[in-house]
């Protein structure tokens, strides 16, 4: 490490300028995908929307 004598940090060296605004495509798909999945999941497993309850799910699993 060569910066023992520095006084102040040079903040411009903390962030890359050429890729400053990039969002990797794979990550963006994950981000949006999980929001959509979250809405779907909340809808599917909320008793007031679909009638699903943890009790019914348990009873069904006991029948097997």
């Amino acid at each position: 490490m060569s910066n023992y004598n520095e006084e102040f940090d040079d903040l411009s060296k903390f962030e890359r300028q050429d890729t400053k605004h990039n969002l990797p495509m794979g990550w963006l798909i994950l981000f949006v995908g999980l929001i959509i999945f979250g809405i779907y999941y909340t809808y599917m497993y909320s008793p007031s929307f679909t009638g699903w309850t943890q009790e019914k799910a348990f009873e069904e699993s006991m029948k097997k």
């Binding site: 023992y4 940090d9 890729t19 990039n22 969002l23 999945f37 979250g38 909340t42 309850t53």
Partner: protein, 470 residues
């Protein structure tokens, strides 16, 4: 360039204090891991598992974890705002109060005083002290940020602000207890509401004591120790806001298949799964930063602490949300899988990044080089092996335990008695103690290296002073 000198005394004090509490907490951890497979390691009522378990979690979370965070936050705040703390003497008082607080807290748990809320065990007089301590810290850090000399607010400062604001809310709401005597109090929330608040707190303690503060360190020390700038500012900021927005909704995933209303569980699980995205935003940002020049992994010894640390953060934030899903929760919840998960986070991510940060800070404030890069490398590999062994043995035995609980005979009766599932854990519990010893040995290399670096720095400073006077 200018006469400005940073004052690092309080930072040093917190680092030394957190290392001390770290040793205490780790040794108690080793003892309670042995108590799991041999009851003879319980010595009387004070040194029994029931009391020591909370001493272990509180001393490490608050003594080592928060202690390091206080010190490193003071370091980061003065560096990123380019000015001294607004109240340096208050920070010194904060350091003393912190050590007295941890001492009293550990003592009270030894004595058996507890609120019985996980990670919020301290009784009400100590809670009041913690709030005062946090307010002192908040005034100093927020005041310094308001009066900053550098216009730009780097991402680490955002994570520091999030930590300060959210922990204050979490701690106060969860610790709304009605005192009945000096050492006993009752939660204002009853039954399932109490459980819901307790896990809203319990999960967000992980989020705002073990995630946001460590990310503040990660985003500062990764560019500092590699010389490589962070890949994307936008990715940092979007991940930050998404993380703190989503985290506070997720506590209910600890209460899957309980009397908590189904819709709250479902909502908690949905937000928990979403958390993968902002967590991985920081992971991806770290990888892409180092991708500019992977040779730093080899040439700059600190890089691997941050990159391996963030890798465990990435694994942790896939494993954690998966555990929230109902079908997985029903297999592994209440088994030894859970300590395996927790310790991957605390030993693989939190401690790794804290150690990396201290390795950077100590030589920097003593104006010297690290005593030995070789010892740092040995430390790195030993703690990595210890941590992996710990986590993996617990995952194996956790799945075994969950499966044994569920197995039924053709007539529908349970195949195993409870005691059989406990006995099956024994070899893994013994392996865990062995893994713990390896981890602690690794940490001793770290302590030795830091101690020698401080001695070296003092000697060099004395020599410099002598030549200047000659």
């Amino acid at each position: 360039m200018n006469d400005y000198q940073y004052d690092y005394q309080t930072v040093k004090g917190f680092i030394v204090s957190c290392l001390f509490w770290g040793v205490v907490g780790l040794l108690i951890g080793l003892l309670i891991s042995a108590q799991m497979w041999n009851a003879d390691f319980n010595f009387g009522e004070y040194w029994s598992f029931g009391r020591l378990r909370t001493v272990h979690t509180n001393v490490l979370a608050y003594g080592l974890g928060i202690g390091a965070e206080f010190g490193i936050f003071y370091y980061l705040v003065i560096r990123l705002t380019k000015r001294p703390l607004v109240f340096p003497k208050l920070a010194r008082f904060h350091l003393w109060l912190f050590n007295v607080g941890i001492l009293l807290g550990a003592w009270s748990l030894f004595m058996g005083y507890t609120q019985n809320v996980e990670y919020a065990e301290f009784e009400w007089p100590l809670d009041i002290a913690v709030v005062i301590l946090w307010v002192i810290f908040a005034i100093n850090v927020m005041g310094t940020i308001f009066k900053r000399k550098e216009n730009e607010m780097y991402i680490s400062l955002w994570y520091i602000i999030a930590t300060i604001v959210t922990v204050a809310i979490l701690y106060i709401v969860t610790n709304l207890f009605i005192p009945s005597t000096l050492t006993k109090s009752y939660h204002v929330f009853a039954g399932v509401n109490s459980a819901n608040v307790a896990w809203w707190y319990g999960h967000n303690a992980v989020g705002f004591l073990f995630t946001t503060p460590i990310l503040a360190m990660f985003y500062y020390f990764l560019p500092k120790s590699t010389g490589l700038p962070i890949y994307s500012h936008r990715l940092s900021i979007i991940s930050f806001w998404a993380l703190i927005f989503a985290y506070l909704w997720t506590g209910a995933h600890h209460l899957v298949y309980t009397p908590l209303p189904d819709w709250i569980q479902t909502l908690g699980i949905a937000f928990t799964l979403f958390l993968i995205a902002p967590s991985w935003g920081s992971v991806v940002n770290g990888y892409f930063t180092v991708e500019a020049d992977w040779s730093v992994m080899k040439n700059k010894y600190l890089t691997k602490f941050f990159i391996v640390g963030v890798t465990f953060y990435g694994l942790q934030t896939i494993q954690g949300p998966s555990q929230g899903i109902r079908v997985i929760s029903s297999l592994i919840h209440y088994t030894d899988w859970v300590p395996g998960h927790v310790h991957m986070g605390t030993m693989g991510w939190v401690t790794m990044v804290i150690c990396g940060s201290i390795y950077y800070i100590i030589p920097h404030i003593y104006k010297t080089e690290i005593y030995s890069e070789k010892i740092a490398n040995i430390h790195f590999w030993i703690v990595l092996i210890g941590q992996l062994m710990f986590s993996i043995t617990m995952w194996i035995t956790g799945v075994q335990q969950g499966a044994m609980w569920k197995m039924t005979n053709p007539d529908g009766s349970l195949k195993y008695t409870f005691i059989e599932t406990v006995l099956a854990n024994y070899p893994y519990w013994q392996m865990r103690t062995f893994a713990g010893i390896i981890f602690v040995v690794g940490m001793l290399f770290f302590l030795y290296n830091i101690y020698m670096t401080i001695q070296k720095g003092k000697k060099e400073a004395a020599a410099k002073l002598a030549t200047a006077n000659a």
